[in-house]
Symmetry: none
Subunit: 250 residues, 2 copies
């Protein structure tokens, strides 16, 4: 808990990162590190704005995002407080296939593991928001749990991340991104469909064309909602069920 404003870290007014963004990041950090007790009073807007040398409006931009994400609550006269309710998706391992499998005690191995630098296709360009013709690092995997292929994975990484293609992808992907590149995934936008296996997919998964396959497209974003990775994968339907638990933000 901060006794005084003066203990709250400052912002970098010379950075290219917008002030409201810095403020948001800073607050996220402070909250997640429990510098503010739940339900406790938050610094008031005017004070915080003064401390950071930004206008109340700019600070408000940051706070609004946190309110929308359910980390903070605002009430007119009482001020801003830290919410109890965490929008939890329960998944500590929410993004990691290997963690998931390890948790369930299912051994797996990679039947294919390829890293390339390629020109992004149109969909990838759109999702990642990169210019036409831009090159991206692609990671392609076919993973099996047992004798048969279970899933085909393909990821394209936003150039911003800074991958070169020569990294060690043996360790869990999101550990690598965090530790080596200081890129932390926060949001995952997932689209899940059932499709009939194309020839290509059938070959990858060793199934018959036309068989139902679970397709998952996933756009992984950082705290500022900037794209990190666009990922598409095909799961064998007879071997895989996609399970999640959603908790309502009460």
């Amino acid at each position: 808990m901060f006794e005084h404003m003066n203990n709250i870290p400052l912002l970098d007014h010379d950075s290219k990162i917008p002030l409201h963004q810095q403020a948001e990041d800073q607050l996220r950090k402070l909250i997640s590190e429990n510098h503010f007790r739940v339900g406790d009073a938050f610094p008031k807007e005017t004070d915080l704005a003064k401390r950071w040398g930004i206008s109340r409006n700019t600070l408000r931009q940051a706070i609004s995002n946190l309110v929308r994400d359910g980390l903070l609550e605002r009430k007119k006269r009482s001020g801003t407080t830290v919410s109890k309710k965490k929008i939890t998706t329960d998944l500590a391992n929410w993004l990691s296939f290997s963690h998931e499998m390890e948790d369930k005690g299912i051994p797996f191995k990679d039947l294919k593991h390829t890293v390339n630098v390629v020109k992004a296709d149109k969909e990838t360009e759109e999702r990642l928001g990169i210019p036409h013709g831009a090159k991206v690092v692609s990671l392609e995997r076919i993973r099996s749990t047992g004798r048969n292929p279970m899933v085909y994975f393909r990821s394209y990484f936003h150039p911003r991340v800074g991958l070169t293609g020569s990294e060690n992808f043996k360790k869990p992907l999101y550990e690598l991104l965090d530790e080596e590149f200081h890129v932390v995934p926060v949001y995952s936008q997932e689209e899940i469909r059932a499709i009939a296996a194309t020839e290509k997919i059938a070959a990858w998964l060793k199934i018959t064309p036309g068989a139902p396959v679970l397709e998952r497209k996933r756009l992984v974003l950082d705290a500022g909602r900037k794209p990190i990775e666009f990922n598409i994968c095909y799961y064998r339907s007879d071997a895989f069920t996609y399970s999640i638990e959603i908790k309502r933000p009460v």
Copy 2:
């Protein structure tokens, strides 16, 4: 599509409802009514602000919310565009098909709507944790968005909830449960698979047997993790993408 700004409804400057709120509501409505084509250019901020007699800043407040909700996308010089319609499981409406569809402005109707009191099958008994042979209220629905069936739904409710089968299921289900029975869903455990349509499913959805179908099984729990409802549904794969956004617990 609006040829001219002049066709866009005005705001009520005398209302007690904030202008940014009115603007947001108005835009939501316009988008949901398909007055703007997907991917098409949106009126630019300056023009819209002028049309509505509000400042660009105020309008921006409204648009920002829509962007955050994924209805709009902004790009620097190119302007604002309407996003591809994602049937997103919004955190607010996380469980309601009707809310989801209404929010996206997709009209739908029930092709079938049956309420029964039946003996639970084995899977339902297990999931709900009720004794063998117990009776449960079942709700069966086939819903369409447009001409063709979109999804087949079947729900079994835990006897604890207290449904008799004679309730008015026309209103959104989770409103009913909350208001009439004081049952509030908090957790949703979901299992998603791709399967080949059986004869029965094919008949419901008017597709050919063997076609890929998205199956979702969902166990809805209350705050104490006691089961409320076991729900199974089959989505036409050519018409439906299951979209969720997961946010990492920071």
